[in-house]
């Protein structure tokens, strides 16, 4: 930008000289205060309500609107209605973790395999499958959940509503994360390393295992973080496919109790625990992603942050 002013003034084109006649309009280094203020307003608006909800999970009283002093009774103290002592509340925590772990363990390997297979096996079938995968990424969750509910109750009745159906549905809903992220990474890696390995005598499978998978590791890891977090967050699919109370994770419990039922700060406590899980996963994901990509030229905090968020 430094040369911009000088060049524009001496430019032969009349228009450019007109534009810069007199004092150059607009200093390119001036800070855009209005936009910065707007950004901060947005950030405050997006974070403060959540912070208040977290705060009220530590409220001494039963109100979610009037602060009555600090207490951890909604987590551990209250013998009836705290997350620790109320069976439906802590069952929900366990079910959420259970679903998240199972879904991640199944989704990531099959999604990575799908991505490698589709990328290398160029045919009409693989193009079609890739389309199906992208469709599963953009379809409104409700439509998939309704379809899965009908499938499980009308056709594949051996898949019982409850944990089995929930995991089956969550896997198909999340498979696009590893598939899309790993495929994008495959494209940037190219095939040279793999070819070098096979030229040096590695088998195809050996080259994948010893060369390609290590190179894909950051992408695989980022997608695992995303699958885990999105399962913790999931509501629509698990609501349609859960059956009895023990198969209802935290999101379903919060939803069904907001209007009546178990109310008060215990719900905030549950939501705060959910938030805590996601944040731990996000921080671990960020740190590990930076560590994995430490040798790369494009390494930067912002790149790692956006990768962990699926961009």
């Amino acid at each position: 930008m430094a040369s911009a002013v000088g060049e524009a003034v001496t430019a032969p084109s009349g228009r450019a000289t007109v534009a810069w006649r007199g004092r150059p309009r607009g200093n390119p280094w001036r800070r855009p205060w209005v936009m910065e203020g707007f950004t901060w307003l947005y950030i405050i608006w997006s974070i403060v309500p959540i912070a208040i909800a977290v705060l009220f999970s530590f409220n001494k009283g039963a109100s979610q609107a009037t602060w009555q002093g600090f207490s951890t009774k909604w987590y551990i103290g209250n013998s009836v209605n705290s997350v620790l002592h109320n069976p439906s509340l802590h069952q929900a925590v366990i079910q959420t973790l259970n679903l998240a772990v199972l879904t991640t363990l199944i989704t990531v390997p099959i999604g990575v395999g799908f991505a490698i297979g589709i990328d290398r096996w160029r045919s009409r079938t693989s193009t079609g499958l890739n389309f199906v995968m992208i469709f599963s990424f953009v379809i409104p969750e409700l439509l998939l959940a309704v379809g899965l509910f009908l499938l499980v109750t009308q056709a594949l009745t051996f898949i019982r509503l409850g944990t089995t159906a929930e995991v089956a549905g969550l896997v198909v809903w999340n498979i696009s994360w590893p598939a899309i992220i790993v495929r994008a990474r495959l494209v940037t890696i190219g095939r040279t390393y793999e070819e070098a390995a096979t030229d040096l005598g590695a088998s195809r499978l050996g080259a994948i295992r010893r060369v390609l998978i290590p190179l894909l590791m950051p992408a695989i890891f980022a997608s695992a973080v995303l699958v885990f977090a999105s399962t913790v967050d999931d509501f629509v699919i698990v609501e349609q496919l859960s059956s009895t109370a023990p198969t209802q994770p935290m999101s379903v419990l919060i939803y069904s109790n907001v209007h009546g039922g178990l109310s008060g700060p215990a719900l905030n406590a549950l939501a705060t625990i959910m938030l805590f899980f996601s944040l731990v996963v996000a921080v671990v994901g960020f740190v590990a992603y930076r560590w994995m990509t430490r040798g790369e030229r494009t390494k930067s905090s912002s790149a790692a942050l956006t990768s962990i968020a699926g961009m």
Binding site: M1, A4, E7, A11, S13, A16, A19, G26, F38, T39, I43, S46, I47, P49, I50, A53, Q64, A65, T66, I110, G117, I118, R120, W121, S123, L129, M133, S136, V138, I139, P140, E141, L142, L143, L144, V146, G147, L148, L150, L151, Q154, V171, V172, I175, R183, A184, V187, M250, V258, L267, N268, A271, M274, L275, S302, L305, T306, A309, G310, M311
Partner: protein
Amino acid sequence: MGRSQDTHDRRNRWLWMGLAAPGAIWLLVLFVAPFYVMMAVAAGGVNEFFQTAVPTWNPLHWSSANLSAVWHDMVGSGAFLGPPALRTLLYSASATVISLAIAYPVAYFVSRYAGRRKTLFLILLIAPFWVSYMMRMLAWIDLLQQGGFFNSALSFVGLPGHTDWLGGKSATVVLGLVYGYIPYLILVLYAGLDRIDQSLLEAARDLGLSKWRTFWRVTVPLSKPTIIAGTFITVLPMLGDYFTNQLLSGAAGTTMIGNAIEGQLESPGETGQGAVLALMLLLILLIPMIYYAVSTARASREFA
């Protein structure tokens, strides 16, 4: 990548197919098949005694009873599905426009002007993405309830502070939709704007365009694909949303098409009509979904 590469790939075809197979089977059984079941239920009958859906598997025997029932509910006298459909469009459109108006300047600022503080801004922008949707809705329920902070703040500045914001206000539902989906939009816009080559903008300025004209004639056209992708990412889930509405209003006056699908699916004897409604929504959304899929596939091919 020459011809030898292609023959190589052909030889390894079984390996690639084997790697893709588990995911492919999972997608076919649990993503494609459900929609056939949905069609069979939509075109099927009802068990008179149990009031449960009886799917018709053979397309030759499909009946249009459910379809015409839904059609009557939509346009006939006493239609109750028309208003939710209209409301869905109205709410989603206004929520998307508001989201874009907020998200674009924020993403633009962070991608271009944040400088060394980019990481800080990104952490703050990504934070809501990691907070579960239920938590974010719960936060607004706390704020907007009768004795909540929002009403207290209103009475503090001298406005009437007794509004029942959670009792069926369209504005509350739109706010919930914006608050719920805007983090995704901002991230998509940021990723797109960050990729715009700065030297193109410098060139435009060098050639004499003013700041505003550079923005309108260079930045906006270059970010058009991103804006479209971001709009899809936000509008598609909004169109199938039922929980935001249920949590922040729960009143009949604000129901959307998602609530109608959910309601019919759960009421005895009307599962088939719920399936018809879901298929209708899918049919409408098929066009933007295909557009999105094609442009994503093309983008990744160009990238390769």
